[in-house]
Amino acid sequence: MILPYLVRLLCLSFASFFVLNLAAGLLVWILSKPAIRFAQTRTSSSAARLLLALRLLPLALAGLFVVGLCVPSYLWLEPAATAERVGFLCVVLGLLGAAIWFASIARTVHSILASLRHNRLCRLAGEETRIQGNSFPVVLVDDEAPLLALSGLLRPRLLISRGVLRVLSLEEFDAALRHEHAHRTSRDNAKRLLLLLAPDIFPFVRPLSMLEHSWSKFAEWAADDQAAAGDSRRALSLAAALVHVARMGAGPRLPFLSTPLLAGDRDLSARVDRLLQAAPIAPAHTSKSKHRLLNAGFLLAVCLAAVLLAPSALSSVHELLELLLH
């Protein structure tokens, strides 16, 4: 098949993204079980960070390779005037690459729309207010359903039903608010968006969902730890709040881009047990790990720049692309 210059670039980019994402995704899939076991030995926040990084690794590697190497090498070393025949395999891989991106973008858009619709509906069914001492907006929903969740991306709102307000004591409500505030400060809804946007390793197959579920669990635990902040009384109040909300029955299904106080009953027992242990876990100081993360990012950027500046690297990549193309 003979394709024009830019379509060939698009096909090559999708094809190389698919191959790299598949390779890295399979590696991550093999490593996911030992990684989850290892994460259980760490603090909940570092475990959540580790699992999120592992889940996003295929996207980051494949994306960096395509944007940092494939596209520049093609633009600099491929003569624009030539019309070349593209191999069948390259076209198929390109289509598969486009399909995994299409699927991830479609589910992301769907989730964003569902979240917007749900928030609008809650605002219609309730009233927007602010709770004293809390900076973020609260929507008080006139409903008896067990609803207490942080919803939205750019301006997250706390959705609270009157039923929940009625059931929780003042201390329990304060602990629940601290839990949701912890989700807000760690931008868990934005992380959920990244998880949605990370393409599958094969169209419509999600073998890395195990990592996503584990990340979700550790993110809840991390928010619990932050809410309790090493205070046994507060931990007790949060545990009581969880049980009281659970007693209210099953709540309305929330969009993926929201973090409810009680995501499901699978983890309820473990969460309550953690909160009731003799010395509640204080949240780890994140400045050290943030520095480490920044250092790693800086090192990666330097390496990438060094590779980009080396002409031999780009020509090697171009040869590889030629191989893939034909």
């Binding site: 569902a114 749900h118 509906l121 359903a145 007790l236 099953a250 299904r253 009953d265 027992s269 309550v272």
Partner: protein, 148 residues
């Protein structure tokens, strides 16, 4: 014949599509519900504001096409009558609203259902009892620790 069939098909489609009425449409329906079958000339003086004969004629024709009205020709003019009573319209409208809500996206459907129905899939009551017992025990422990 073709026009008749087209109207029938159009009526069926429109009826399922929408039972909503505009302000003028609703006023015309009110007049027909209270006065029974009428032609355009009978309807115009009963309106709350003066409107052109052609405007009323067009709106009545639109209501016929939407399936709200039936009509027959009498002395070179159409006589319109409502296809269903006001109560029937209200019942259908409420039904279509609920159906629209239920066939809508999950959150809206479930928010409504959460208001209408008892929640299903509740948490295991035994587990919750056990957890509450643990909380009570822990509360007592803390209370003892805090006492001098």
């Amino acid at each position: 014949m073709i026009r008749f069939l087209k109207n029938r098909i159009q009526r069926g489609v429109n009826q399922s599509q929408s039972l909503a009425l505009g302000t003028l449409e609703f006023e015309l329906m009110e007049i027909l519900w209270s006065n029974g079958a009428s032609n355009v000339r009978d309807v115009v003086p009963k309106l709350s504001r003066p409107l052109a004969y052609t405007t009323v004629m067009t709106t009545l024709d639109r209501l016929f096409k939407k399936g709200f009205l039936d009509r027959h020709k009498s002395d070179r003019a159409f006589v319109y009558s409502s296809s269903f009573s006001r109560r029937e319209w209200e019942r259908r409208r409420a039904g279509s609203l609920v159906a629209g809500f239920l066939s809508g996206p999950n959150p809206s459907r479930e928010l409504l259902l959460s208001c209408l129905l008892d929640a299903v899939g509740e948490h295991d009551a035994t587990l919750l009892d056990e957890l509450e017992k643990k909380i009570r025990t822990r509360r007592k422990e803390l209370h003892r620790q805090e006492q001098p």
